[in-house]
Amino acid sequence: MTVPNDAFVTFEKVRKTYDGRTLVVSDLDLEIRKGEFLTMLGPSGSGKTTCLMMLAGFEHPTSGRITLGGRSIDGVPPHKRDIGVVFQNYALFPHMSVLENIAFPLSVRKVSKAEMEQRARAALGMVHLQHLADRKPGQLSGGQQQRVALARALVFEPVLILMDEPLGALDKQLREAMQYEIKHLHERLGVTIVYVTHDQGEALTMSDRVAVFNEGKIQQLSTPKELYERPQNAFVASFIGENNAVLGTLKSASDGTCEVETPGGTLRCGLIGEHTLGTRKLVSLRPERVRIVDDTSACTNVMPARIEEVIYHGDHLRLRLSTMSVSDFIAKVPNAEGGRDFVAGQELKIGFNTTDCLALDAPARN
């Protein structure tokens, strides 16, 4: 997919505080490109929803500037921003039929009756719900309500669509189906979408880029792949996907790789952040990159470990290991034919390559 390189939405040094003491959003800079699917991901209270609400116009920045299409939107009231918002819990108007709900944005724009009906039905068709046009929202399932909300936010062809945890209330299977549906709609319509969620799986599946929020700041803004494979700091590494963290000190560094001295021995890994020798580092390692090896392994790093617990997951096994002074080190082993049997208490060796692990800056000790 081609992403034009012009900034469509920008946040410039945006700050937001409610009580005058703590910043919910602090000095936020962000550029969103036209046609992009950008996800704001973070734990609750990280400032992501506040950012979305400032963009929609329901909250105002305490300082800083937000622009849309090159123009500041500080003084523009929400109803003139031409931004479609899909709310948590959908916010469908319960006293209107599905079709009336979808026609609502057109009717307040004084579109002619015939055109209104035709466009509303087309939007309803887009989410495959033509047959439910005359129902009331209360008679629909969660997934159907979600699609109506989507159609309603799309029908007036807004320049930008904001979604605030739109799938939060759905069950797992439906949530996954809706993820694909939203993604396909985005690809088909080419509209810019800003999506807020605390579900990292959702963020990785759907987005072109993900902005990881924590404590009012963007921790990292990059593609899902980059985010997962090259997290920039310990927070991102632990928030996105599963992660094993081993503490150590930086022993040598060269050309993007380094050696870290850990309680179990020296590890060779990729280097991110501070280069000064002797700094505390946190080695981040994904459970699925850990291999169970024997002495003849070609892996760069081989460490002894002991199995504390074996958890059966169907398609894979999870081994909880103690190694390198860590007692909750997780390794994912595929449940392939002819696989070994693992039992708690067993001693074995684990191996991983330089490219599988990253030495990040360790968070300050409390």
């Binding site: 929609a56 329901f58 109803h79 948590q88 916010a91 469908l92 108007f93 609502f104 944005p105 007036f156």
Partner: protein, 418 residues
């Protein structure tokens, strides 16, 4: 899996249904047991009195018991097209029964009842009974007309005839300012005595005014409360409910003090230079409406507030984000969603207002008395319980009719009382 024959399947389904019924029955009984005290209370102190009132409104009075034979004869007489003074048989029966009634002291009761038909009937009846001879001098008819020439008039007998059946529509007709004439045709009451319809209309007028005023005052207040944080709203809600903590009589009396000519309100307005002369605010309509609005306002605020609290703020945000300016969003989304509260509030206030008695009595003038004051007057002063019950029935019918119109318009599920 084993396949069942159709019979077995049916039998299985039957036992399943039976055990379900057994299981449900225990629950139903427990539920009933919990509600039983209230059901009994309602039955004894609410349903029975209302039923009693409805019966009273059509019950004619003691005449069929006191003058059984005369009553029977008069009912035949009423069936005839041309009304003339009844024949000798009626006079003879009447004479016998009148004397008997006079002896066992049931006559005053009858006299009171007949006096409702024709003022002056009491003295006619009592004096006739006192002077009635044992045997007629000539015919009974001549004897009666000799005692009082009124006994030769059709209207006197028609009145007696109207009191003769066990049931009557006379009270309900009277409550609607109508009566039956000497030929039993329904006629409007003489305008000088027609007070009941005017009183009913006035009652509905005052109630409607109060309801409207309450709505106008309560709606913005409820909206403000509903958009405030819950803790602040609860605090302010106490202020709304404060009037409930004082007795109705005290509140009404304080309005009397506030609104009177030398009262604080008039003095304040004069001091501010807004008026030259004190306004007349008591013993007239504005006073009644002001006091009743104050007393009834919480009944409007509460249902509207509780409905508004239930409207997620996201609805207004969604409407705005979809392009609706605040007023449009309010009109098309918020207001329709708040209607169940408005409906419930209006119904509540209106129905309560219809029955108001003490406030109009204390603050209103002679022309501001509501129908309940008339009912009290009829019950306590003239002892015309039939007419009082009929007025109550008319009021009840109006209330029920309004309720049905209301629910037809908004639907019962569209109404929330709290």
């Amino acid at each position: 899996m084993e396949t069942m024959t159709a019979d077995e399947a049916r039998a299985e389904a039957r036992t399943l249904r039976a055990s379900l019924r057994r299981a449900e029955r225990r629950r139903t009984l427990r539920g009933l047991g919990l509600a039983l005290p209230l059901i009994l209370f309602t039955l004894v102190f609410f349903v029975l009195p209302i039923a009693g009132m409805l019966v009273k409104a059509v019950q004619n009075g003691p005449m069929p018991d006191i003058l059984p034979q005369t009553s029977a004869l008069l009912q035949q007489w009423r069936a005839s097209e041309e009304r003339a003074v009844p024949d000798e048989a009626v006079f003879a029966a009447f004479a016998g029964e009148l004397r008997a009634a006079s002896q066992n002291r049931t006559l005053p009761e009858l006299a009171t009842r007949l006096n409702f038909e024709n003022a002056g009937y009491r003295s006619l009846l009592m004096s006739t009974a006192r002077r009635l001879p044992e045997a007629p001098a000539g015919t009974w008819r001549d004897t009666f007309t000799g005692l009082n020439p009124q006994w030769g008039e059709v209207s006197i007998w028609a009145a007696l005839g109207r009191a003769s059946p066990r049931l009557t529509d006379g009270y309900v007709l009277a409550a609607l300012d109508h009566r039956r004439d000497d030929n039993d045709h329904i006629q409007p009451t003489d305008p000088s005595r027609a007070v009941y319809v005017a009183s009913l209309t006035r009652t509905l007028e005052i109630s409607a005014t109060v309801t409207l005023l309450c709505l106008v005052l309560a709606y913005p207040l409820a909206y403000r409360l509903a958009t405030l944080p819950e803790s602040t709203a609860n605090l302010l809600m106490i202020l709304v409910l404060l009037p409930f903590w004082t007795s109705l009589l005290v509140r009404t009396a304080s309005w009397l003090v506030i609104l009177q000519r030398e009262g604080p309100l008039n003095e304040a307005l004069q001091w501010l230079g807004l008026i030259d002369q004190p306004l007349q605010l008591v013993f007239n309509r504005p006073g009644v409406v002001i006091a009743m609005t104050h007393v009834l306002l919480p009944f409007m605020v509460l249902p509207i507030y509780s409905v508004m609290r239930g409207i997620p703020p996201n609805y207004m945000r969604a409407a705005t984000s979809l392009g609706a300016p605040f007023l449009t969003a309010f009109r098309r989304v918020y207001f329709p969603l708040s209607l169940p509260g408005v409906t419930a509030g209006c119904l509540l206030v209106f129905i309560l207002a219809i029955g108001y008695y003490i406030t109009p009595l204390l603050i209103g003038g002679a022309n501001d008395q509501m129908v309940s004051a008339l009912i009290a007057f009829l019950t306590l002063q003239t002892l015309n319980w039939g007419l009082a019950a009929a007025l109550g029935t008319v009021l009840l019918v109006i209330t029920i009719a309004l309720y049905f119109v209301y629910t037809r318009v908004v639907g019962t599920d569209g109404m929330k009382l709290g």
